[in-house]
Symmetry: none
Subunit: 304 residues, 2 copies
Amino acid sequence: MAKSPKISASQEPGGLIVHISGLLPSLSPAEQRVARLVVSDPAAAARRTITDLATAAETSEATVIRFCRSVGMDGYPQLRIRLAAEAARRIEPPDARVVGGDIPPGADLAQIIATIAFNDARAVEETAEQLDPAACEQVVEAISGAGRIDIYGAGASGFVASDFQQKLHRIGRIAFYFPDVHTALTSAALLGRGDVAFGISHTGTTSDVIEVLEQARTRGAVTVALTNFPRSPITEVADFVLTTAARETTYRSGATASRLAQLTVVDCLFVGVAARNRARARKALEATAEAVQSHRVGANRRRA
Amino acid sequence: MAKSPKISASQEPGGLIVHISGLLPSLSPAEQRVARLVVSDPAAAARRTITDLATAAETSEATVIRFCRSVGMDGYPQLRIRLAAEAARRIEPPDARVVGGDIPPGADLAQIIATIAFNDARAVEETAEQLDPAACEQVVEAISGAGRIDIYGAGASGFVASDFQQKLHRIGRIAFYFPDVHTALTSAALLGRGDVAFGISHTGTTSDVIEVLEQARTRGAVTVALTNFPRSPITEVADFVLTTAARETTYRSGATASRLAQLTVVDCLFVGVAARNRARARKALEATAEAVQSHRVGANRRRA
DNA sequence: GCCACGGGTGAAACTTACTTTCACCAAGCG
DNA sequence: CGCTTGGTGAAAGTAAGTTTCACCCGTGGC
């Protein structure tokens, strides 16, 4: 049998293992022994040195090399890394990650971590997917041209509001955040045409935030709502509605997923605004970074 | 605590690349060049021989070996197959979304959103992957049994600290957060055996936070650090170190990715603590939910 | 029955890759 | 200003991978 010198595996992106088992019968006995070892546990084979593998297959290194060539690889190291790659690809059916699922009572910490992270990451991704770029664009424009930006949020959303305020402030926009309803109302009453009022409420039912947005709107400010529920009351008082897409698990997870989603949206808006005036934003950011420099201790270097 | 010089990567099932980027600042210049090559294209690195890689990084083979050891691998071949495996595992980074990349100047908002969301989601996922469940478990235990928990964080990390404080408080744990260094120091001085001090610093170099943790430690409290860099100064004053895995893009993205990663870790700890005493936590949560009910407006129902 | 032939094989020689050692340099410190 | 210390690459050393080659053994022709 004129064995074709090489049946190239390089154009077989998916199935080196399959490829090998396919040509198993066409291999010589000693090579078959090698092949069987490789096919039965690619990951283990990848970890072995050529001498090791040869010994395990009760043959010589030379045969292993011949085997490599027979299946279309250049040499043993190449085979090795291909095997490692294949082996890595074929694992991971992460059954433990129930989408939007709750954490089972008996869960250990590793499971808890996996579940939470999965849901958090999904919330971020899904939020981005359903976010309307056109709406964002308009909001970015409004913020960029605003005389002043008031940001409202209560409880958990208050953190996000505060974060947004700080971000805008760092790039030189005039932004405020009020943890207190009364102060917020007072401020809203002083808004006017050309200003922006930005309300954050996960549920969209936080009366304090709605009230303040309403006030701002009657004064002529552009009102923006950030909420998870596109049909919640807050959307009635907003000119623009941006939505997050967190499928809240029960209260147990402390609404962190929705927080992350909100932060992501806020970050997008921030970057959008910053991108509108690169030079100025950059300068402002550098200045603020420098300001905290003296509060950092020596280099992050290796310790003995 | 005699910290082992090598931070083993073998127990990091998910994220060698992430692990490496975390250690990046603690590496020597020549090793950093190698690390950057590896991180920026793991698959390509896996294909190279050590001599090749050394040349590409403008250094010697010896340095590459040193780099391998620094990141916890036994030698170059091991690194190689790990890299191949990692590269295979990660699903094609859809080109527009440059991993850890910066946002191109001409980008439109849709691109910006995609890029940010992608990086944010990755930070969350990768953080979870490299998080050590055993360490978390110990921290959870410490917090569960603590007489009092002090949480420290400055600037952006302050939000996370505050969030954590609020979460713990809601399930009936006695937790404090101090936005002000002096108050924090005072409080730390009053900690004792059985208490927990939890410091958050993305860079791990925030002197205020380090100082406070140190103080807490001398008083006998268990100290925990949450940082992105496993060899940064803060880890020297911590009994337990938890790391996030945000590959910070430039300042432009305002460090949101790292914030999200921190929040995820905090959430995991929170759920872990809550899970230790389901009944009590549930009751506390229900009570707090009821408390804000009167600030919610009518149902989140469909509007005519 | 003997001999050429050819594929399959492993021992050994060889090459390349990887690892260790060591001396040098530059920076920080007393 | 000399001492120490960490980072570095050259060179020596070792192990891994590759090639060569002679041998074995079955086959088929003479």
